[in-house]
């Protein structure tokens, strides 16, 4: 363990980048040098070799999911695994293309290739989000935890209600409605945090969509905008002085709450982005494994 933070890209001085590069270069050299009479394809000895390498790589890339969940025992750091996963996974594009000799068609083989590319490109998105969103998330949070922010929203709501109660039943109703319309709190939060990620992808996709919906609601929440407008109206219409003071406070509270709610919504969104791509990446990688088996079997069948 070294005394520094390294990202997956520069793990161990980007060791796996060099491994992947060497593998790619070797494949290219072999491909150019090989030049069979029939034109390069999967059926030549080099085609078989590259195909075997690619298939083994895919199986190994899948094993990342197993490693991620075996917490005890040796086997290196997960960071090392992921670094290798990313670089070797990327080199797979080239190896697979060289394996098929750039021959495509409307068949299982090409389907297999496309599936693989989708998995890989979703992986690219994952790496992008892993590099970008954590910092945004920290900045957005301003060192509060999400639970603390939700708690604060709850308190602000209570205070606002209590304040509104002393002003006017109409205002109370407006505030109450705006509180009921903020669908941030318990629901989404508990869905996302108490989510069982071993569960099928479905539940979480639903959660993530819900999260985005809430986000949309909270940023452009027409309700809370309306609340503030309604009160400004009320202010302008000249209620009595004590109430004016209370209303000013109420507006402060509500805008404060809106700011935090927006932050929570963004927080949920960032986290959702960092998770949602996995719901493409992982199921499709299982699909890929199935397609790969089909591909291999069919090749031998036609033989």
């Amino acid at each position: 363990m070294s005394a520094r933070h390294e990202s997956i890209l520069n793990h161990a001085r980007s060791r796996y980048f060099w491994v992947a590069l060497a593998l790619s270069l070797a494949s290219i050299v072999a491909y150019v040098w090989h030049a069979p009479d029939v034109g390069p394809n999967g059926g030549t000895w080099l085609g078989y070799t590259l195909g075997t390498i690619a298939a083994l790589l895919i199986v190994w890339l899948m094993l990342f999911g197993v490693r991620k969940r075996s917490y005890s025992g040796a086997g290196g750091t997960l960071r090392g695994w992921l670094s290798a996963h990313v670089y070797l996974g990327t080199s797979l594009i080239l190896i697979a293309l060289l394996h098929c000799g750039f021959q495509f068609g409307w068949n299982l083989h090409t389907f297999c290739l496309v599936l693989m590319l989708v998995v890989i490109f979703s992986g690219f998105f994952g790496v992008y989000s892993y590099l970008r969103y954590p910092t945004l998330m920290t900045r957005n949070r301003e060192s509060a935890t999400r639970a603390a922010m939700l708690e604060e929203i709850g308190e602000l709501d209570q205070n606002a209600l209590a304040l509104a109660d002393g002003i006017d039943p109409k205002i109370h109703a407006i505030v109450l409605r705006s509180i009921q319309n903020t669908r941030l709190g318990g629901g989404v939060f508990s869905q996302l945090s108490a989510r069982d990620d071993s569960d099928a992808a479905l539940a979480s996709v639903r959660a993530a969509i819900a999260a985005r919906e809430t986000q949309a609601k909270a940023t452009t929440n027409p309700q809370s905008g309306q609340t503030i407008f309604a009160m400004v109206d009320f202010l302008a219409s000249g209620a009595n002085d004590r109430q004016t003071e209370a209303l000013r406070k109420l507006i402060d509270l509500l805008s404060q709450k809106k700011a935090i709610a927006t932050r929570v919504a963004r927080d949920i969104q960032y986290q959702a982005v960092m998770e949602i791509w996995l719901y493409v990446h992982v199921p499709l990688s299982f699909g890929l494994l199935a397609a790969l088996i089909g591909h291999v079997v069919s090749v031998f069948f036609y033989w």
Binding site: H5, I8, K68, S198
Partner: protein, 803 residues
């Protein structure tokens, strides 16, 4: 009217109760005086349903009162039953407030309720819990004024005044505020006495209006009301005059008065001012006051079974019987491997005769010391401990000799012989062993764990003095001139002094004229320079290193400021004697210069990156200076997948010992709530069975003999210890993956027996996965490399790597 008895027993804890039971069984005239309306207040006050453990398991119980591990209720029930069956003469509500020996030799025990009891012998078994401090104002004993809170959820919709500003008061107030209207009364204008987290919590609750706070205020009176909706009212004296609060309940958490004052007033002497010291008592438990005996926790035996055995034995001793102490078989087993062993008494005498350090202590102290210690008889050539092991026990050489490898490169060795000791460096500095020790011929060693040794050092001044002297000599020798012998160093050692610094204290300032050198013995320092009007930390100096040599050798001005980053103790060498030493030993000068060049280069690198110092400053302000290994999360890499917590839970019975999210962040460096494996772990302080240990690699862990008392949870300033019960087994990964059996990775296992029976709860904390292999699971499981564990020595390099 005064009553007269032969034996008066004060306090009905396990010690006192067992003594009274034995006295009753033997038909002695006796009385058991207990302040509370029930027996054994300490155990009575345990949490409801607490599982009480009967450590140490190997010690046999010797008492007419039964005691087996079980729930608090079963044990208290069995004791009540035994007290009735044996017809113990117990008087409740008798808090003894003074014990005086009259000229006629009889003791006179005055009770707070006015009763007076006379007795020929007194057995004091009042434990260490002390007396709960009451409000001290009229109405303090009203039924709705309470001094303890078992279950905050029991109350709802009440107006409750919490009096106090410590952790207990704050925790109660916050817990009660969920369902009640809470007012907290603080005598001062801040909550600085509490842990950081609690302080922040209460200030926030006050700011949010959840809790109302009266600062600089104190209760003046509590009255019961017969009309109205509230049970009573409290009159407060505040800075702005009087205030009245209508209340349902008062919860006062004002701490307890340590029993020491009372005990001293009885004439019993304590060997030192240190709060950890216990009164010196004879092997028969008799104090310096003839006829006054001390048993149980007050005498330094903090476990129930020990207290009960002593209660039994003390009655036998008073009756003039000879009993073999219950721990005799344990000692016999300990001494058995010692060559030429015949009897325990003889072996004890041999230890005391051979080891001068132990000649300062009483026979009972020696017995206790040996009970905690182990006798080791390593073969010649065997390694006792290796350099860089992180053990902290202390060794005394009873026979034979050992060799200390002071310089591994040249295999230079020093021989220590019978009567000498070693291991004091690791014990005092809280750091890794500085040298390897190899057993010589006919070696018999006594290995003593850190806690017992510290207790001895703190209670016997002569022991402390002797160890300190040897420490200074060996520290100078090993750090500067391994080739010199004791005689050559005599004058440097003679002029050396020990100096203490509080966190933040300055040892010397940049620009001052230097006249001394400091060798850090406990704690650590930071070296900083004023750059552009701002203090920039350049390096971190852990225990075992020195500062201030350069001003003595070359330019006489200090080139930087040295500041204690935590409570620190140094060996201060005067400039004069050090210069003489350098003059006498030319190699030393070369050595110092070589080291200086390295330091200067490192400082220069830091100076080039002044913002790096801010990261160090931030970490030190989080108490990282006393850490040996701290978990840091880079929030610009952390994707919040919580795989670290899952990994921890998965490798540690379903509960994560780490809270990733909680904790401060600075410049994306996040310090999560997780154990730092402190140099001098606060959690070890008051652990009755001494269950918290340090493993050779430095991990602070909790052994199985934990009794779940929760002291460590309270003592850790970083809030990383929890009380948890043992989880049931989980199915393996494969059966979950393939068959969907049971809870998945990272999830808590379901407990079919949940809540049906009293389960033993024990303290759990991070053990750095010492038993898992491959390093801490949290770090290994982080997919993006956001989680790392580092030691403070690495802070400068770490700070440089982050720009």
């Amino acid at each position: 009217m005064t009553d007269r008895f032969r034996i008066a027993i004060v306090g009905s804890g396990p010690g006192g109760l067992s003594a009274a039971a034995r006295a009753a069984e033997r038909g002695e005239s006796h009385v058991l005086l207990e302040a509370e309306p029930h027996l054994s207040n300490t155990i009575y006050r345990y949490q409801k349903g607490k599982f009480v453990m009967d450590e140490p398991g190997i010690l046999p119980l010797r008492s007419p009162v039964p005691f087996k591990a079980g729930s608090r209720e079963t044990i208290l029930g069995a004791w009540d039953e035994a007290a009735a069956r044996l017809k113990i003469n117990v008087r409740h509500g008798h808090e003894v407030s003074a014990i005086a020996k009259r000229p006629d030799g009889l003791f006179e025990l005055k009770c707070a309720n006015g009763k007076v009891v006379e007795a020929q012998f007194v057995v004091l078994g009042i434990g260490l819990q002390g007396n709960i401090r009451k409000l001290g104002v009229p109405g303090e004993d009203l039924p709705f004024v309470q001094y303890q809170l078992d279950d905050p959820d029991e109350y709802e919709g009440e107006t409750i005044v919490v009096v106090g500003a410590g952790d207990a008061a704050i925790e109660n107030a916050i817990a009660l505020a969920k369902q009640n209207n809470v007012v907290i009364v603080n005598r001062r204008d801040e909550f600085a006495r509490a842990k950081k987290g609690n302080e922040a919590g209460i200030l926030k609750a006050i700011e949010d209006g959840l809790i109302e706070c009266y600062y600089n205020a104190g209760p003046e009176r509590v009255d019961a009301l017969s009309v109205g909706r509230k049970k009573g009212r409290m009159i407060l004296a505040t800075a702005n005059g009087k205030a009245q609060i209508l209340i349902d309940r008062v919860i006062a958490r004002l701490g307890a008065t340590a029993p020491r004052g009372f005990v001293e007033a009885c004439g019993v002497e304590f060997p030192s001012k240190d709060p950890a010291s216990v009164p010196a008592i004879s092997p028969q438990y008799e104090s310096n006051v003839k006829g006054l005996y001390i048993v149980g926790a007050l005498g330094g035996y903090p476990l129930i079974k020990q207290a009960m055995n002593q209660g039994y034995e003390v009655i036998e001793y008073i009756r003039g019987e000879k009993v073999e102490p219950a721990d005799e078989p344990l000692l016999k087993a300990k001494f058995a491997p010692m060559p030429g062993f015949r009897s325990v008494d003889e072996a004890l005498a041999r230890v005391q005769k051979n080891v001068r350090l132990l000649s300062h202590i009483t026979p009972l102290q020696l017995r206790e010391f040996m009970l905690d210690s182990d006798v080791r008889t390593p073969k010649s050539g065997e390694t006792v401990f290796a350099r860089n092991d992180y053990t902290n026990s202390f060794y005394s050489i009873v026979d034979g000799e050992v060799q200390v490898v002071v310089d591994a490169a040249t295999d230079q060795r020093i021989t220590l012989r019978r009567g000498e000791f070693f291991g004091e460096m690791g014990l005092i500095s809280g750091r890794r062993r500085s040298a390897t020790v190899i057993a010589g011929a006919g070696c018999v060693l006594v290995e003593t764990p850190r806690r017992s040794m510290n207790r001895l050092i703190n209670s016997v001044a002569a022991v402390k003095r002797e160890i300190d002297q040897v420490f200074i000599l060996r520290a100078i020798q090993s750090r500067f001139v391994p080739e010199a012998d004791a005689a050559q160093l005599a004058d440097v050692v003679a002029s050396a002094t020990l100096q203490k610094f509080a966190a933040g204290d300055v040892l010397f300032n940049e620009g001052e004229v230097g006249d001394c050198l400091h060798l850090v013995r406990v704690g650590s320092l930071t070296i900083s320079r004023n750059i552009g009007g701002k203090e920039v930390v350049l390096s971190y100096v852990p225990a075992g290193n020195y500062v201030g040599e350069m001003a003595l050798l070359g330019d006489s001005k200090r080139s930087a400021t040295a500041r204690a980053s935590i409570a620190t103790e140094t060996v201060r060498l005067t400039g004069e004697s050090f210069k003489k030493l350098v003059a006498r030993m030319p190699v030393l000068k070369l050595r110092l210069q070589a080291e200086y060049r390295q330091r200067a280069a490192a400082n220069l690198a830091m100076q080039a990156l002044p913002s790096g110092g801010d990261v160090i400053q931030f970490l030190l302000s989080q108490g990282a200076g006393e850490a040996t290994d701290i978990l840091l999360i880079d929030e610009s890499l952390c994707v919040r997948c919580d795989n670290c917590e899952k990994a921890c839970a998965e490798t540690h019975g379903g509960t994560s010992r780490l809270d990733r999210e909680a904790g401060p962040t600075y410049a994306s460096v996040h310090v999560p709530t997780s154990c730092r494996h402190c140099e001098h772990p606060h959690c070890m302080k008051d652990c009755p069975p001494d269950a918290i240990r340090r493993a050779p690699n430095g991990e602070v862990y909790i052994a199985d003999n934990c009794i779940g008392c929760g002291n460590c949870e309270r003592n850790c300033p970083y809030g990383v210890i929890h009380m948890a019960s043992k989880p049931p087994k989980k199915p393996g990964l494969l059966s979950w993956l393939l068959l969907g059996l049971g809870p998945g990775p990272g999830e808590a296992p379901v407990d079919p027996k949940k809540k049906k029976e009293a389960k033993e709860k024990k303290a759990v904390k991070c053990d750095m996965c010492k038993d898992v292999g491959g390093g801490p699971a949290c770090v290994r499981a982080c997919p993006t490399g956001a989680a790392i564990r580092i030691s403070p020595e690495e802070f400068p390099a770490y700070a440089q790597s982050r720009r």
